[in-house]
Symmetry: C2
Subunit: 577 residues, 2 copies
């Protein structure tokens, strides 16, 4: 979510380069992008045939031209995470983009890896998503619309598997699927509540078998998670084949491989697996690739993009979804565990406003300096610092500055951070671009100069699944205990019997609290984490613990953003962000 310039107070000195009230799309369009082929050549020494251009300013990178082998040189990986999100906005993507520009201002060869935005929210709630202010990625409209077709390819692959499945049952059901135990739904990259629950296959025997099913949004597809975790085409194919689409009457799993369709799915996804290269407003390289949900999936950009960026840069900035309790934990315990990647540094983004909300201030009062509430809300920051330290990381705290922040408020966050032995730096990349983030970039370099962190996974592969969930709940969320429903207990036992006990777990819970109750701000402890059900993502390679209601197909608001999106008289897109 991009911060709005209108939230800047007019009495505060405004940066010269950014007139107040300028919408993101206007700023984005004021900069002429460089040829992406030229940029790749100049920055990375990559020849033109190593890129697959999509227009002049976007490209996919042919991985055959990038040495991602274990022996090759590899840059430092900086994970950007954040405090528990609030409606005040923290600006994690904006900070990732700004920090990368900051590194480049310092002369460090750096790229940033981000997730791709989904068309659903773009036409529903919020317009575009590619950073904000002077810390944006361009071409902004293209990134927010069809981009390079990855999500469309995932949608098609997901739905081809569904149609092959229904067709298999229609023609005799040779593998013996139990129609009552078909899990594989369909997906669409839109928000459409009417498709959540439906009965398909109506109209008579010529039109399939009636069954209850529905659609999720494409970012919730297991294939999205698979694409983002796959380490090359053979691994992609293997994972696609492992997808469990349903069960036989004896409850044995039926996979996509049993249906013989993993080859066709791989073909549909072969180009989507290649990372997308674009640029920031300051013409620094940005990889945007993949966008899995951060609740029922791990919420990180693709492994391919991270590997490509690490092979081509000295420093790579990347972003983990939601707050550090969910995003950073999954980044380390799922993505790093599966791939051997390890972060060399972590940046923990906060704002004065958001910490005041964590301390109980309502949104309308955020402009008023309030040291007391800030102090109260800072427990949230402290909990995240402690957690990151438990992973072996000493984070750098980034205070993403707003004009309404008082000097005393900024100083308070810095002194609290100092108590925890971590650096805290104010950054103004939103208004100033990379120049506003050089101090932050320098602090990250200084932190990395202190030595490579010994990053620890939170739990070992070989402990029981329930214990993995309990470890996360007690060590990261400060829960007193975990309450498994009888169904969840049965499912965990069954997954272990089926041979999936070694998988990591992915907690699907509200991002608005350390607890499962979104109204509990700050740093709640002693709560109980309720695990309602457990799902198996055998292709992605994790077990999902569902704690509360998780919406996998959002609905449109009363007035969707789509009604304001149009072309102006010059055929330029209006209404995006």
């Amino acid at each position: 979510m991009s911060l709005q310039y209108s939230e800047y107070n007019e009495t505060t000195p405004t940066p010269e380069r950014l007139p107040p009230g300028t919408p993101d799309i206007v700023i984005a369009r004021s900069v002429q992008p460089q040829s992406i082929l030229l940029l790749a050549q100049q920055r990375f020494g990559l020849p033109g045939d190593s890129l697959i251009p999509f227009g002049h300013y976007k490209a996919k990178l042919n991985m055959a031209h990038v040495d991602t082998s274990a022996r090759a040189a590899r840059g430092k990986l900086v994970m950007v995470t954040a405090i528990t999100p609030t409606p005040a906005g923290e600006g994690k993507t904006t900070t990732s983009v700004g920090l990368n520009d900051g590194f480049n201002c310092l002369g460090v060869q750096s790229s940033v890896c981000l997730r791709e935005p989904s068309l659903g929210p773009c036409f529903g709630m919020k317009g575009g998503a590619a950073g904000g202010g002077r810390a944006q990625v361009i071409p902004m409209e293209d990134i927010n619309l069809h981009f390079n077709g990855d999500f469309h390819a995932i949608t098609t692959a997901h739905n081809l598997l569904a149609s092959i499945l229904d067709n298999h049952m229609h023609w005799g059901n040779e593998v013996g699927l139990d129609p009552r135990h078909v899990y594989w739904r369909r997906v669409m990259d839109l928000t459409d509540r009417s498709l959540r629950y439906m009965v398909s296959g109506l109209g008579g025997t010529a039109h399939g078998t009636p069954r209850e099913t529905g659609f999720d949004i494409t970012v919730a597809s297991e294939i999205m998670a698979i694409l983002c975790l796959a380490d090359g085409l053979p691994d992609l194919r293997q994972r696609l084949g492992n997808i469990i689409v349903g069960r036989r009457p004896d409850m044995s799993p039926v996979t996509a491989r049993d249906l013989g369709v993993e080859g066709a799915l791989t073909v549909l996804l072969k180009e989507a697996l290649l990372p997308n290269l674009v640029q920031s407003l300051e013409h620094n390289p940005v990889f945007i690739h993949g966008g899995p949900f951060a609740n029922i999936a791990h919420g990180c950009n693709s492994v391919t993009a991270t590997r490509a960026a690490l092979a081509l840069n000295d420093v790579v900035v990347t972003e983990a979804g939601f707050g550090a309790d969910l995003g950073a934990e999954k980044f380390i315990d799922i993505k790093c565990r599966q791939t051997g990647l390890r972060p060399d540094a972590a940046v923990l983004v906060c704002t004065v406003r958001a910490l005041k909300m964590q301390g109980g201030v309502s949104r309308k009062d955020l402009a008023t300096p309030d040291l007391h509430s800030l102090r109260a809300g800072a427990v949230n920051l402290e909990r995240h610092i402690r957690n990151l330290r438990r992973f072996g990381l000493v984070p750098v705290v980034c205070i993403n500055r707003f004009p309404t922040d008082s000097d005393e408020e900024l100083a308070l966050i810095q002194s609290i951070s100092a108590e925890w032995g971590v650096r805290a730096v104010t950054a103004t990349h939103w208004a100033m671009g990379g120049e506003g983030a050089t101090e932050l970039a320098q602090a990250v370099l200084d932190q990395m100069d202190e030595g490579t962190p010994e990053v620890q996974l939170l739990y070992e592969d070989d402990i029981p699944l329930a214990e993995k969930i309990e470890t996360i709940a007690t060590r990261i969320y400060d829960a007193a205990s975990v309450d498994f429903t009888p169904a969840a207990k049965r499912q965990l036992e069954e997954y272990e019997q089926l041979g999936f006990g070694h998988l990591p777990v992915c907690i699907a819970k509200t991002q608005y609290s350390f607890s499962a109750d979104p109204s509990l701000r700050g740093a709640p402890s002693g709560h109980v984490l309720p695990v309602r059900e457990v799902r198996l993502s055998a292709g992605a390679g994790f077990v999902v613990a569902v704690c509360g209601d998780i919406m996998t197909m959002p609905g449109l608001p009363r007035r969707p953003a789509a009604l304001d999106i149009s072309l102006d008289e010059n055929d330029q897109v209006t209404g995006l962000a």
Copy 2:
């Protein structure tokens, strides 16, 4: 549908350049495509920034760089159509590609415009569709997979309109839609019978309003027809706004414009509206753009592609869907009527084999010379010649040669054509490429040298809709009469009252016969055309007369092509065509 090389008889001398049994995909891959930017520069003098590259061998053409105004020079338009299709295959697309290569062999600056293949049949029945043999378009895999994203954009736009519609009803239904009269379904670019009939909006009040609905395949979307008939962005927006999504209780129509969504739909389609440029195996320019159904829609490539090609070439070859009774009629009475375009020549494709099938020979006996059956089946060719003459066109008959054709059989078709005063030429582009079609190309040039045809629309705008249908039925299909159901009669009257009486009609009937009965081969006459219902495509700008069962969402066969599609050890696609 591509012809199979295996149908060549081994005892027949085979062309040197094409070893027997070579699959299309192997031939396609044996040719290294030229850089599409270089090709556009060399052939058309177009600068690099006038193209939007998609990889190195595909591009979209920025129409701002092409003068399509009425004053500008414009090439001759050659419409390729065919006899009534049979399972023997006529090779219309292959002939279009080969004829274009033939023109270029003769030194004529020529391009061909084709429709885009759909992913649905590609993974279902038949593998790829981009010509065959040495008359193919490359890069073949890309064209058959996601190509440049047009169909995904259409799918997304169509489904965004559906979600906005359901959302509008969910939040109070301000425009007063009658939920029982919502016509707008959803689409998917796959074949999936289970989605034909469904009930959506189940699960309670938070999840929309339950209603009967379903999915069609994307090529059946009215937005596909709109994209292919739109003459620029303003016309596109206008047509999108005109789409009728349902009715109010008083039966007044509710349009996409009433829902306020035509701007967002236009944004989603702005790049999809630009024509795609690729190349033949002989590096001649090929435009592939849009692919509407040829039954419930008009079955032609986009107006944008045709206009762009005409502005850049001396000759443009284009293809009309199905046989000439459906494809050529709709090309002239819908596409030409709406745009002012007129064909300068027509090529009528036939094969000896297919004409023998029209004469009653079964598929297994087609290799046996049989002058008697050929003479009997040639009535089908004659009927199409007569029909094209009624439009003011003197067609050139192309006999797409198979090795099993005897000289006597070829001579018979030529003498029958001569009786009708039309040229008939044998062509071997499938095996020989452009060289095999130079005689055909020369015959078309000779025909055009005889003067510009005075192309006649079959009926005027201002006669009643029922009379338009009757005119097509009696003049083109040789029906004795049209039988309208009471519902169809009511609908026609209603559309006229609503002000749509001036629209052309689009007949949706079987492509396998002049009649509505697919088993009636040859040239049936005196039959009755049953019009079951009439639909209004107010955005596309035609009224659809549905004669018989029209499947708008195909099903997969027992063994879908998807199960044979995969990547080989070199990451090359196998199993496509």
